[in-house]
């Protein structure tokens, strides 16, 4: 059959998109991975600390850039212990053992760079 069945050829919704979204600034995110849940709950609330397999726990994602964090009240930030409690040698407030903490990246804007440089993505 060569032809379309005309009755089914409806394209309602095709015209929905109207706005052109400008590329946001590159937003780098990161989160912390802990070997001890107590370390995470020192930085964040218990609800923000999620199990990540075994005894590992991860905290919430936050913007790497402090300027972006300040503009977003919902950004959880790098955690309270960083600022108030934890020092390089342990917790200054005596809040338990200092487990290892690593930071892992996560971000948006990791696709789209080639198109932003002006090459048409279509063919």
């Amino acid at each position: 059959m060569k032809r379309s069945d005309g009755v089914t050829l409806t394209v309602a919704g095709v015209a929905l998109v109207t706005a052109t979204v400008l590329a946001p600034n590159y937003q780098s995110l990161e989160r912390k991975r802990y070997t001890d849940r107590r370390d995470c709950e020192c930085d964040y609330s218990a609800a923000q600390c999620q199990s990540a397999g075994g005894t590992e726990v991860v905290g919430p994602w936050f913007a790497s850039d402090e300027t972006i964090r300040r503009q977003d009240p919902a950004d959880p930030g790098p955690g309270h212990c960083d600022r108030h409690w934890r020092s390089s040698s342990g917790y200054s407030g005596g809040r338990g053992e200092h487990g290892s903490v690593t930071t892992e990246p996560g971000y948006r804007n990791g696709f789209g760079g080639t198109a932003r440089r002006g090459t048409p993505p279509r063919s």
């Binding site: 059959m1 060569k2 032809r3 379309s4 069945d5 005309g6 089914t8 050829l9 409806t10 394209v11 309602a12 919704g13 095709v14 015209a15 929905l16 998109v17 052109t20 979204v21 400008l22 590329a23 946001p24 995110l29 989160r31 991860v58 994602w61 892992e104 996560g106 971000y107 948006r108 804007n109 990791g110 696709f111 789209g112 760079g113 080639t114 198109a115 932003r116 090459t119 048409p120 993505p121 279509r122 063919s123």
Partner: protein, 370 residues
């Protein structure tokens, strides 16, 4: 095949805009040609359909053999890209669509210029807008166009009846791309799936998953964004470990490059639907065209009197040399046939015509009937 003057519709621009085709004119230059059309015979349409099916079948065989041999040298794929190709092919990830650009004048066999197998556009106008035109202007005639129905069927069959949430991503600074994706999203929704659209730049990565703007995992992603770009960008390194199913699948990397052309010619020398092609052009007589391996919209394509001239000026591993086959001329208008493959079937055509020998992003879309 003939080019005809046909009656322009009253308020045609407003009609197109109401159908979602609001880029029919760009910077004052029309992209949609109202008032002209191409008429084919049934035999000519049958030729186009048969050639498209055969070429696509040849492409699939080439992919199968390449994956079986593991030799990706001709396609310039690194080990990571080759691994993605192999994984997607062995998992039998289905293709959704592609568009072959064919040279056809109604007298000689259709010839393949290239296969836009990864990020084809002009979908909305080919599938829907020219169909509405046919209903308005030649309601008793036929059109080689079952793109819309075949897309819906392809979405319905894709997960064996399971209904999924499918994300659609494009670079939203391009209105044309956005409209193409919005149309495709409509066909997916008509098949019963949930759909979410986002800018390709808004795709997030958090450790194990690609995520949408609501931080929900992206399990199925249609992307109107070339594979080779994704692999080259910062998130490209996460593709192999992510559970996301990509549409088009990664094996399309072997078809969406001009390196496909020498590969097909090597396997099927003299085939009536192919033009001679190679990387150095030494075995091609007469004028040739030098094409960038990954060029788009006619960019970087150049005609040379001989392959030696092409090689002297453009010698590079990133260039493919193809026998020069000029587009037919209809009073100076040069149409290229965009022949759509949906799933694995020829599904219809869209015609873009130019005033030059190289079809570019300034060409015009012309409806057809038979």
């Amino acid at each position: 095949m003939e080019r005809l003057v046909c009656p322009p519709r009253d308020h045609w621009a407003a009609r197109l805009e109401a159908q979602g085709f609001d880029y029919h004119t760009s910077d004052g230059v029309p992209y949609w040609s109202e008032g002209v059309c191409y008429r084919f015979t049934t035999d000519e349409i049958d030729q186009l359909e048969a050639a498209t099916d055969e070429l696509h079948s040849m492409c699939l065989s080439m992919v199968a053999d390449t994956v079986a041999s593991g030799d990706y040298h001709a396609f310039s794929l690194d080990a990571d890209a080759a691994a993605l190709v192999e994984r997607s092919w062995k998992r039998r990830e289905p293709a959704l669509m592609g568009r072959m650009d064919l040279c056809f004048d109604g007298r000689s066999a259709p010839k393949l210029y290239e296969y836009n197998a990864d990020t084809p556009t002009s979908l909305l106008e080919a599938a829907a807008i020219q169909w509405f035109w046919l209903q308005d202007v030649y309601p008793q005639a036929d059109q080689f166009n079952s793109i819309h129905e075949k897309l819906i069927a392809a979405w319905q069959q894709r997960w064996h009846g399971d209904l999924r949430t499918v994300h659609f991503a494009s670079f939203s600074a391009s209105r044309e791309d956005e409209a193409n994706v919005e149309y495709l999203r409509t066909t997916c929704a008509l098949a019963g799936h949930a759909t979410i659209e986002l800018d390709i730049q808004d795709v997030g990565w958090k450790g194990r998953h690609f995520l949408d703007l609501q931080d929900q995992p992206i399990d199925q992603l249609f992307k109107l964004y070339p594979w080779e770009w994704m692999l080259d960008e910062p998130f490209g390194r996460h593709i192999a470990s992510a559970p996301t199913e990509w549409i088009e699948p990664a094996w399309k990397l072997l078809l969406s490059t001009k390196a496909l052309l020498p590969a097909l010619w090597k396997r099927h020398p003299g085939h009536p639907n192919l033009l001679a092609a190679s990387f150095d052009g030494r075995l091609i007589d007469g004028p040739v065209v030098a094409k960038p391996r990954l060029g788009r919209e006619g960019a970087g394509i150049q005609v040379f009197p001989t392959a030696l001239d092409a090689w002297a000026e453009r010698a590079s591993t990133d260039i493919v040399i193809q026998q020069y086959q000029p587009l037919p001329s209809f009073e100076g208008h040069r149409p290229v046939i965009g022949s759509w493959v949906i799933g694995n079937q020829a599904a219809g055509i869209g015609i873009r015509e130019s005033l030059t020998d190289i079809t570019s992003n300034t060409s015009r879309f012309v409806p057809h009937w038979f």
